[in-house]
C-alpha cells in the first residue's frame, strides 16, 4: 500500500522529517554494492550497467557493473551490483 504523501508545507507545519511523509527521494547506500532508493516515481532506463529512476527531485542515474534490480515496488527500488557512481541529472 502506498504511503500517504503530505505536501511540503504540511510537513513543515507539523514539524515532521521530510523523508518520512513527503515525496522527496531517499537514497541509502550500503557498502558499494547495495543501493536503496525510496520514493521513486518510475524507472526510465535499465541495463546491467546503468539504471535511471524518476523522482520528485529529478532523475537519478546509478552506474555500475552487473546491476540487478533486486526489488522493484511502488515506492522502493533496491539495486545490487558493483556500484561505481550515482548522480542527479538535470533537464528531465
Amino acid at each position: 500500500m502506498a504511503r500517504v504523501k503530505l505536501p511540503e508545507k504540511w510537513n513543515r507545519a507539523l514539524d515532521l522529517p521530510r523523508e518520512v511523509s513527503s515525496a522527496v527521494p531517499r537514497l541509502t547506500l550500503v557498502g558499494r554494492d547495495e543501493l536503496l532508493l525510496e520514493n521513486h516515481r518510475g524507472i526510465l532506463a535499465y541495463s546491467d550497467r546503468e539504471a535511471r529512476f524518476l523522482t520528485a527531485a529529478g532523475a537519478v542515474k546509478i552506474e555500475g557493473e552487473s546491476l540487478i534490480l533486486s526489488e522493484f515496488t511502488e515506492d522502493t527500488a533496491f539495486v545490487c551490483g558493483r556500484l561505481t557512481s550515482w548522480r542527479f541529472e538535470d533537464g528531465i
Binding site: 518510475g42 524507472i43 526510465l44 532506463a45 535499465y46 541495463s47 546491467d48 546491476l67 540487478i68 534490480l69 533486486s70 526489488e71 522493484f72 515496488t73 511502488e74
Partner: protein
C-alpha cells in the same frame, strides 16, 4: 522463500521499452524482483504467479513480448503430481499414516523405580489402557493416576505425562517404616555410634549420660530400669527420648607426585544419531577405544514438525597422559579425595557443624586428612533382656 511458497514465475520481456512495462506493473501495485537486463530491449524478472494474469492488459501498447521462462514454488510442484498419481497417493497415505500415528503412544518411559520393578509399573499403565500402540487415553489423567496409586502401597506418588507420542511416568516410592517395639516392652536407649553428647531429652526413663560425655557404641543413654535402691521389685519402663551427639568422621587420602589423566589426542571423528519417536534408529560407532562425545546438537527442523530427531556431534579420542603435579595440585587432590570419603560416611540426616583439614608430606607423597564433625541422633531403642 515465502514468496516461492505461494508460487512465482520468471518471465522474459522483450521489446522496445521493457521499462515501460515495469512502470505499468509498478502503477498496478505488482511487485517484481530479481530484474536482470542482459541486453538492451530484454529483461528477465520474477513476480508472483497470481499477478501473472494481470500482465495481459498491462502489456498492450508497450510493444513488448512476454515469455514464461520458469515456474517455481509449491503450487507448481503440486501440479506436477497430477501426472504421478501413485506418488501423490503414497504421499497422501504417508501423511494420513503420520497423522493417525501421532495420536497414539509409541514410547513409554518410566523413571524413579528402585524397589518397584519397571515392568510392574508398565503393567499398571497397561491395565489403564496406556501401552505402546494404544491411542491416547480418554478422560482426565488424574483419574487414571489415582487408580494406579490406590493399587500399590509401595508407590507414594505417580505422575503420568503425555508429550506427543511419548508417555512419561514418574514414580516416587514409599519409604518403608521401621518396625517399632511395643510400648509395653521394657527398653533402654543405647548408642549406635560413638561420640560426644550434645543434647539429651529423655521422654521416658532416666538419662544415664550428660551433655559433654563421651560415649561408645552400645553404651546405655537412657535407662529403662528405674528401680529405686530400696525397692523390692524391679521397675522397668519403655525408655525413649532424643539423644544428639557430635560424631567425628575422619578420612585421609594420599596424592602421588605424578598423575595419569585422560587427555585429547587431537584426533576427532563425526558423530550422527537419528531417532524416530524417541527410539534410536542409527547411531555412529566410535572409532576409538577411549573417546568423549562433545558438541552434540540437534540438526534440521524435524523436531517441531515430525517425530524425527537428528543429532550431530564430534568424537574426541582420549589417551592416558602422565604428568608431574605441583605441590598445590597434590594438596588439592589429596584433600578432595579425603573430603569426599569423609562426606560419604556422614548420614543424610546429620547436620555438619565443623570441618578441619590438614596436609602433611611423607616420602614425597602428600597426605590430606579431613575431619568432619556432624551432629546427629544416636539413640536406638533396645529391649531389656535380663
Amino acid at each position: 522463500m515465502w514468496r516461492q511458497a505461494g508460487g512465482c514465475v520468471i518471465i522474459r520481456v522483450t521489446g522496445k521499452s521493457p521499462e515501460r512495462l515495469l512502470n505499468r506493473l509498478n502503477g498496478a501495485g505488482i511487485s517484481v524482483w530479481d530484474v536482470h537486463a542482459p541486453r538492451r530491449g530484454e529483461m528477465t524478472l520474477m513476480l508472483r504467479a497470481r499477478d501473472f494474469p494481470k500482465l495481459r492488459p498491462l502489456r498492450r501498447d508497450c510493444g513488448c513480448e512476454i515469455h514464461i521462462e520458469k515456474r517455481i514454488g509449491l503450487p507448481f510442484r503440486l501440479l506436477q503430481l497430477r501426472f504421478r498419481k501413485t506418488l501423490a497417493a503414497g504421499l497422501l497415505a504417508a501423511l494420513a499414516l503420520l497423522i493417525a500415528a501421532s495420536t497414539r503412544i509409541w514410547v513409554i518411559e518410566v523413571t524413579g523405580c528402585s524397589n518397584v520393578p519397571e515392568e510392574t509399573v508398565l503393567r499398571y499403565l497397561a491395565e489403564q489402557g496406556i501401552r505402546v500402540g494404544a491411542p491416547w487415553p480418554e478422560g482426565p489423567l488424574y483419574e487414571l493416576v489415582r487408580r494406579i496409586h490406590a493399587g500399590d502401597e509401595r508407590i507414594a506418588w505417580i505422575g503420568v505425562y503425555l508429550d506427543g507420542v511419548l508417555c512419561r511416568a514418574e514414580i516416587v516410592e514409599s519409604v518403608p517404616l521401621e518396625p517399632t517395639l511395643d510400648q509395653s516392652v521394657p527398653t533402654d536407649v543405647v548408642a549406635v555410634k560413638g561420640g560426644v553428647i550434645s543434647y539429651i531429652a529423655p521422654y521416658n526413663g532416666k538419662a544415664s549420660v550428660a551433655v559433654g560425655d563421651e560415649v561408645k557404641p552400645g553404651d546405655i543413654l537412657i535407662r529403662g530400669d528405674i528401680t529405686r535402691e530400696d525397692a523390692e521389685e524391679r521397675l522397668l519402663v519403655h525408655a525413649h527420648g532424643l539423644v544428639m551427639a557430635r560424631i567425628y568422621y575422619f578420612s585421609e587420602a594420599a596424592a602421588l607426585p605424578t598423575v595419569t589423566e585422560p587427555a585429547d589426542s587431537g584426533r576427532t571423528a563425526p558423530y550422527r544419531r537419528v531417532s524416530i519417536a524417541g527410539q534410536t534408529t542409527y547411531e555412529s560407532i566410535p572409532p576409538y577405544d577411549a573417546w568423549e562425545l562433545r558438541d552434540v546438537r540437534a540438526a534440521g527442523p524435524f523436531g517441531t514438525l515430525l517425530p524425527i530427531r537428528i543429532e550431530t556431534g564430534t568424537f574426541y579420542e582420549r589417551i592416558e597422559n602422565t604428568r608431574q603435579r605441583t605441590p598445590e595440585e597434590m594438596a588439592e587432590a589429596a584433600l578432595t579425595e579425603a573430603g569426599s570419603r569423609a562426606y560419604d560416611q556422614v548420614p543424610k540426616s546429620a547436620a555438619i557443624v565443623d570441618k578441619t583439614v590438614s596436609v602433611t608430606q611423607r616420602d614425597g607423597v602428600t597426605i590430606g586428612v579431613v575431619c568432619i564433625v556432624a551432629e546427629e541422633s544416636i539413640g536406638y531403642t533396645k529391649e531389656i533382656t535380663n
